[in-house]
Structure formats: structure tokens, C-alpha cells
């Protein structure tokens, strides 16, 4: 069988190895007597590097040898391969968000007063990171707690033009009207609510 060009053997080996290979290891892929020199292998690596100039992959020397890797600028697309399935938000987070929406500007202490339980820092952090709430000032009381309010992004996400498009509490309490208006199956919604973890529900 004819021997393919060295650079294609090197390429195939680097891709199949799934990790870095040393030049010596590449040389040992050949039978004794047919082994390329180190220079040959370096030349092949260099040529491959040039072949890849325009492409989404690159050849690089790292501590344990040479490897072919996907360029960083391809990360945007490639990273989606490993998307994690989104989890669901906890009941505690949703209640906190709802209170910020309806009672803004509101401090954490005030949210805790209504909910009757502590609001964990991670919930506030998640809401801030998602750009759904922001700090709009500090209340002038001891400790100067931050006051939270909802953002434009919050309105956009829920497809609202303004907060007053949210139903009032009175409307919310009128279950029958709500069911008709929002068209959600109340029994199932109730059942779902029961499935929610209630660990931090002090009440």
C-alpha cells in the first residue's frame, strides 16, 4: 500500500488520539526503517497549521505535545453542543420576583416580612444576573438596605409594555375571572404548585 503524505497521517493521528501527541509518538506510528525524522514531523505540523489558517481548527503545542483544537472564536457555536438543560426556578424565587414586581421598590427585609421566611442571597443574585431586577437605591434605615425594582428586560421577557399590564392582586384573587381571562387550567396549576419543593416555605 502506498504511504499517504506524512501530514495526513499526522493529522489523522492527532484527530484520532483525542489528546496531545509528542513528536516522538508520531514518529513511532511508523514501522522501523520507515520512520520520518523529527524535522519531517515538524514540517508536517507546520504545513497543517497553514492549511488550518482560515478554518475553525488550529494546531497547537501544549505541555504534553501537539494537538488539534477548535479555535476559540468558534466557541459561540460549538459551545451549544454542551448546553445544559435548564432547571426550573424555585417557588421561593418566583415569589421573590413577584413581590419585587408588585411592591417595588422593595428591600430584602420587606420581602422577607411578607413571605415570612428568609430570602436567600442566591435568589437575589440569580435575579440580578438575569437582569430582571436591579438595585434602584438604598432605604434610609439602619443598614441602608438595597431597594430592588424590575427592569426593562423583565418587562420584555414577559412581553409586557408596562407593569400596570399585570393584573392587580384583587383581580388575581378573583379566581374564576382569572381562569377565564388567562385561560389556564386551574386544577393543573394547583397540582403543579403542590409538586413544588416547599423546603423554605416557613408558613
Amino acid at each position: 500500500m502506498e504511504t499517504p503524505p506524512l501530514k495526513f497521517i499526522v493529522e489523522a493521528a492527532l484527530l484520532a488520539a483525542g489528546g496531545p501527541l509528542k513528536v516522538e509518538q508520531m514518529i513511532e506510528l511508523f514501522e522501523e526503517g520507515r520512520r520520518p525524522s523529527k524535522q519531517d514531523v515538524h514540517k508536517a505540523l507546520h504545513d497543517l497549521g497553514e492549511d488550518y489558517a482560515e478554518r475553525g481548527i488550529e494546531i497547537r503545542e501544549v505541555a504534553s505535545g501537539w494537538r488539534i483544537q477548535v479555535r476559540e472564536r468558534m466557541g459561540n457555536w460549538v459551545a451549544r453542543l454542551w448546553e445544559e438543560k435548564p432547571s426550573r426556578y424555585s417557588r421561593a424565587l418566583l415569589e421573590t420576583l413577584a413581590l419585587i414586581a408588585y411592591r417595588q421598590p422593595i428591600t430584602r427585609g420587606e420581602i422577607e416580612d411578607v413571605r415570612g421566611v428568609t430570602v436567600s442571597s442566591s435568589i437575589i443574585k440569580t435575579l440580578l444576573e438575569r437582569d430582571w431586577v436591579r438595585v434602584v437605591g438604598h432605604r434610609d434605615v439602619p443598614g441602608r438596605p438595597a431597594m430592588y425594582a424590575t427592569t426593562r428586560q423583565f418587562l420584555d421577557y414577559f412581553n409586557l409594555k408596562a407593569l400596570d399590564e399585570l393584573p392587580s392582586l384583587a383581580e388575581l384573587r378573583d379566581l374564576d375571572a382569572l381562569t377565564a381571562q388567562l385561560d389556564f387550567g386551574l386544577p393543573s396549576a394547583e397540582a403543579e404548585a403542590e409538586d413544588e419543593p416547599v423546603a423554605d416555605e416557613g408558613a
Binding site: 435548564p86 425594582a149 400596570d164
Partner: protein
């Protein structure tokens, strides 16, 4: 049997039982033509043995290997047929049965554990043989089926899957013939998707938390338009800590009268909650707004 044929069958057999030189299993005691000048069929104490020993001693180990080389009685029968270049559709039943039985007897003599299937096949062969020897009564439907038909069908069926198994074995296979590739990412990021929230969920959460809150405070009468609440947040976010903001910049003329009213209510509410301070140095001077504290 010509030499060419013999070679052909030998090759055939070698394919069938790669673990074994075919001659090792060629131990028919009735063999009348020991093969000369062929490959030694065994090496005994370093010396090649080319003649079938008269006393037919077969080391039990070899027989075990022999037995293991076959995937059951059908495979053994196929081997016997192939070895003699016979057409599967025209098996000399008496011959094959005799050969088959001699193997079985040998195995029994050596007390090898013989799978029941081999004995069952022996019975089947004997039955076919007897049917072929007996004169056949005239059949009502004219032609009677060849007693070998069922066996031939099974042999053929087995043979095609034996071939299919070899074909599958010949397919390019991951890890043997083809290799999968994989690369590292320059920087591996895992996209963590954000959970989706339905507005209904949010509303239900609010309704529920407020119902619970009712149990703590019996007189929670609040009916504030949300637009004022929203505007309160907006006004607050306009204020820079420590800086004075001109009062009129809080109003957007484009919003018209209702907008101005909402902003004014928001400012009053913020004042009431002491979240902002209003500063006016003298009557009719510009009013400035400042975050409280």
C-alpha cells in the same frame, strides 16, 4: 478426489475452523487413503506427523478444541459436506450420517461433555436415513417430499446466517478499521440555559404569597396602581447618590398629562416613604431631588 479439489476443500475447512488444522480433525477410522506429501497435520514431540496413526489416538484436548470449533451440529454437518465438495442439496445421507456418528462416538468414548444438540442431530440423521432406505408408499398427492428436505432447509438457513455473521465481521468497524475523531476546545464553555418562566407561574406565586401574608397581617389593604410603583423605581434609578437632580427632568413631556400625573404621584409616594428628599433653596427657585440618606 483430485489434488486440486483436495486443496480447495482444505482451504474451505480452514476457513470454517480457523483454530484448527483440518487434518487434525480428519480422523475417520475408515480412511483408506492417507494423504501423502501434504502439510503435517500434527507436530508430535517436535517431529512432523504426516501419516494418520493407525491406532487413531487423538488427544482429548484436541477433540475438545475440535468440538469448540463448531457452532453446533449444523455447523459440523456443513463442515462434513463442504470438506467433500458436496452439494448441500444432494447430501449422501448414509455417508454423512456415518461420519457424523463416528465423531459422536469418539467424543462419547473420550467422555467429552457432548451438548444435547449433537445427539439430537444424530437421531434426526438416523431417522432420515431409515426413511430413505424404506420403500416409499405411493402418496395420495403424487410426489412425496424428499426426507432430507427439512434438514437441507435448516442447513441452508444456518449457512446463510453463518455467512452473514462473517460479512458483519468484515464490515469496517469502529476501533478496528475506522477511528472516530475528537478535538479539544481552545476553551470549553458550557452554555447554561436559563430556566423559562411563564407569566402565569409568576402571578400564581404572587397570589399565593399574598394569601399567606394575609394570615400574618389581617389588615392589608393596598390598592396601588402598578404604574406608580413602576414609576417610583424609574425615578429612583434616575437619581445618583449624593447628586441633586432637577425636579423637571423627572418628567417626560412626550408622556402627556397622564404620564406627568403618574410621575408626580410616584414622587409623592417616594417622599412619603422617605426614599427621596426634595430641596428648594427659596420660593420659586428650581426644585432638586436627591436620594434620601
Amino acid at each position: 478426489m483430485s489434488e486440486a479439489q483436495r486443496q480447495a476443500t482444505t482451504t474451505d475447512a480452514a476457513e470454517t475452523t480457523p483454530e484448527l488444522h483440518p487434518d487434525v480433525v480428519h480422523m475417520n477410522p475408515h480412511e483408506e487413503h492417507p494423504r501423502q506429501a501434504e502439510m503435517p497435520f500434527a507436530i508430535v514431540q517436535g517431529a512432523p506427523v504426516t501419516q494418520i496413526p493407525q491406532d487413531l489416538y487423538i488427544p482429548p484436548d484436541a477433540l475438545e478444541v475440535f468440538l469448540e470449533a463448531f457452532e453446533g451440529p449444523l455447523d459440523l454437518l456443513l463442515y462434513l459436506i463442504k470438506r467433500q465438495n458436496l452439494d448441500i442439496l444432494d447430501i449422501p445421507i448414509a455417508d454423512i450420517t456415518r461420519q457424523y456418528m463416528s465423531y459422536i462416538e469418539l467424543m462419547k468414548d473420550l467422555r467429552l461433555e457432548l451438548a444435547g444438540e449433537y445427539l439430537l442431530m444424530a437421531a434426526v440423521l438416523a431417522e432420515i436415513k431409515s426413511r430413505m432406505l424404506l420403500p416409499r408408499p405411493p402418496s395420495e398427492e403424487g410426489e412425496e417430499e424428499d426426507p432430507r428436505a427439512e434438514l437441507v432447509r435448516r442447513l441452508q438457513e444456518y449457512e446463510r446466517f453463518k455467512k452473514a455473521a462473517a460479512d458483519i465481521d468484515d464490515l469496517p468497524r469502529v476501533g478496528r478499521d475506522i477511528h472516530l475523531v475528537g478535538t479539544e476546545l481552545a476553551e470549553r464553555k458550557v452554555l447554561r440555559l436559563q430556566p423559562q418562566v411563564d407569566l402565569q407561574e409568576l402571578l400564581l406565586a404572587f397570589r399565593d404569597v399574598m394569601s399567606r401574608a394575609d394570615m400574618f397581617s389581617s389588615h392589608q389593604v393596598e390598592r396601588e396602581p402598578l404604574s406608580v410603583r413602576e414609576r417610583m423605581s424609574q425615578v429612583l434609578s434616575l437619581l445618583r447618590p449624593g447628586n441633586f437632580t432637577p425636579f423637571e427632568t423627572l418628567f417626560d413631556p412626550a408622556e402627556g398629562r397622564p404620564g406627568a400625573v403618574v410621575t408626580f404621584l410616584a414622587v409623592l409616594e417616594l417622599l412619603k416613604e422617605t426614599l427621596i428628599d426634595l430641596v428648594q433653596n427659596e420660593p420659586f427657585a428650581p426644585i432638586h431631588v436627591k436620594a434620601a440618606g
